[in-house]
Symmetry: C2
Subunit: 356 residues, 2 copies
């Protein structure tokens, strides 16, 4: 069994984590190692749920802070084991988000007297469909495990606080025609040609930019897939355009669906997937205290993240982690090693209540 | 081995042919039966090439007429064996083109003293890619087998003469963008959106109608496939639209390609497949004599057929057969039984030189 030494520095711990492969659905080895290492500390209540591990202090503090991160990665692309060039550490999960998990493990080991009670959540299957998400499963199995006054996800943010998140929905916009032999095309109705207006509306779509709590959310409505066609000599009778709408958290999922239906008025539009965003919630005292303690820039989170699962339970949630979000899921994924140490330092300041 | 009795009437022979399955690539049983039946007549020179059978008279006549038809069918769709309702005969290949093949076999048996020398060509693999086409293979192996003053293909025409054929070409029109995460779509360039103008041009395309030798050819430019998309959260970097251009035979394949490139000016356009059409050639004496002898309406052939292979060798070629072209390749494929007898009757008039 793989083992983890939590007394290592955060960069060395990141290396060790990257070198234990944990592609979604195959997190067991890594979850076993994390569970064993946390048990060894002796001062945390450790629970296991599938390949998720939850470790909590029970110090009777007034507030509880949840720190969470996923153990899984996207598929490995010739980028394990990790390697570095002195400044950058390369490998699958370096940014998304084993450097964040390393910071969590270091802090769990080093902060013996936190000013708040702490809940550390390490979970599986974040990179795949929502129905498999380990955090969602934890919430179903024992929602109290997620409870806290604030939740911090150590998703890659490049060392700034990213507040809330945008919502995301997908829909299929469909055109219907009539088949015919392409040598006698006037006997049919070409469904692909009929999609011209769908693409024209997408091309000319003016996306909103919304400011909430000083964070700027920039929306986007995009085709992510198009398909149509029967055979090389047949006028196609169906064309489907799959669109992805990323929407600011001032709209809920229902309003987002309504908007997309309006954009494609006149076409059959079927919403296939929808996840509400999360308002930044920076007016909440716990969130404001977190931002003040860290003293780093605050901006909007544009991607959807599991902060929305906490937000749905009324828990303010922010993203803050050492990885670079623009490198996530890329073959050349890497993380600047100095930002791992820096993230650990500012979080330690906050958790220990030390003056900065 | 299946056997064929050429003394049966043409409808009974059509039934027998339909009930010997011969999906493209599996014509051997039927080709064996056709070859054996023609050998039995004793007055034809019979040659076999793969699953093609060529039978010729050598009577020293001034002119030679080629009559050709393919033995294969598209895949069976629960429509073999055949059945009838008293007027219509149902089954795979009834229209395309075993009723035509039955007429050929009947005439080969019954016309002992034709006014022209005759070449009967039964061939394989017409319903699949051109590289497998049995007529093309015959032409490669011994081009003299195709020689004649006129060629008649017994493809389904509903009992009228369809002259020449339109050309067909396919091209891929491609847009290229840049990938990005769909939560930050402005960092990418959406290749599907960029295809809006391709579809708009197709939707507004005004197809030509061209009259040649009294035949009206109606062109068509159509998308037959569209595809694009990487994943549900990625701005796509490529979108491909496959178009099929059916063009009148006053354009050659090169001119057709040039036209399509002009329509999609500004986009990357790659011609993937091209087959020239065939001019109706009704000014040719042999073709004019055929039309006059049959006394049936003459119109343009809009689909591409193997007449173009004869036309490429300078042989005027027409389509004339009992099947209904609109029923070809359909599950409910059928043929009106009376048209089988009628096609046999008018061709017998022409081949035997009998006054109508």
């Amino acid at each position: 069994m793989a083992t983890l030494d939590l007394s290592l520095d955060a960069v060395s711990l990141t290396r060790a984590l990257v070198d234990i492969p944990s592609v979604s659905g195959n997190e067991k080895d890594l979850a076993d190692a994390v569970e064993a290492a946390l048990q060894t500390l002796g001062r945390l209540e450790v629970r296991r749920d599938g390949d998720a591990v939850v470790a909590r202090t029970n110090l009777g503090r007034d507030e509880r802070v949840v720190l969470a991160g996923h153990l899984d990665t996207v598929p490995i692309a010739d980028n394990v084991p990790c390697h570095d060039d002195g400044e950058l550490l390369y490998g699958c999960g370096t940014s998304d988000m084993k450097s964040g998990v390393a910071v969590m493990l270091r802090l769990a080991e080093s902060i013996a007297e936190p000013v708040h009670d702490l809940t550390w959540i390490f979970y599986d299957n974040e990179e795949v469909e929502s129905s498999r998400n380990g955090l969602a499963r934890l919430a179903r199995n024992d929602r109290s495990l997620l409870y806290g006054d604030i939740a911090v996800l150590l998703e890659p943010t490049g060392g700034v606080v990213e507040a809330g998140c945008q919502g995301t929905m997908r829909a299929i916009v469909r055109t219907v025609g009539h088949r015919a032999h392409s040598a006698r095309s006037w006997l049919g109705a070409n469904a692909i040609h009929a999609a011209a207006s769908i693409l024209t509306r997408l091309e000319s779509y003016a996306a909103r930019t919304v400011d909430i709590d000083g964070c700027t959310y920039r929306e986007g409505l995009n085709a992510v897939r198009i398909s149509g066609g029967v055979a090389g000599n047949v006028i196609p009778d169906v064309c489907e355009v799959e669109v992805n709408f990323r929407f600011a958290p001032d709209r809920d999922a229902e309003q987002a669906s309504e908007h997309v239906r309006e954009v494609f008025e006149g076409f059959e539009t079927q919403v296939t997937d929808s996840a509400a965003g999360a308002l930044p919630g920076l007016g909440d005292p716990a969130a404001a205290a977190f931002v003040a303690a860290l003293g780093v820039p605050v901006q909007a989170k544009l991607g959807w993240t599991d902060v929305a699962r906490f937000a749905a339970f009324g828990i303010p949630a922010v993203n803050f982690g050492p990885g670079d979000p623009n490198l996530a899921h890329k073959r050349e994924e890497h993380v600047r090693m100095s930002t791992i140490h820096e993230s650990e330092r500012v979080l330690a300041t906050y958790l220990s209540g030390t003056a900065r």
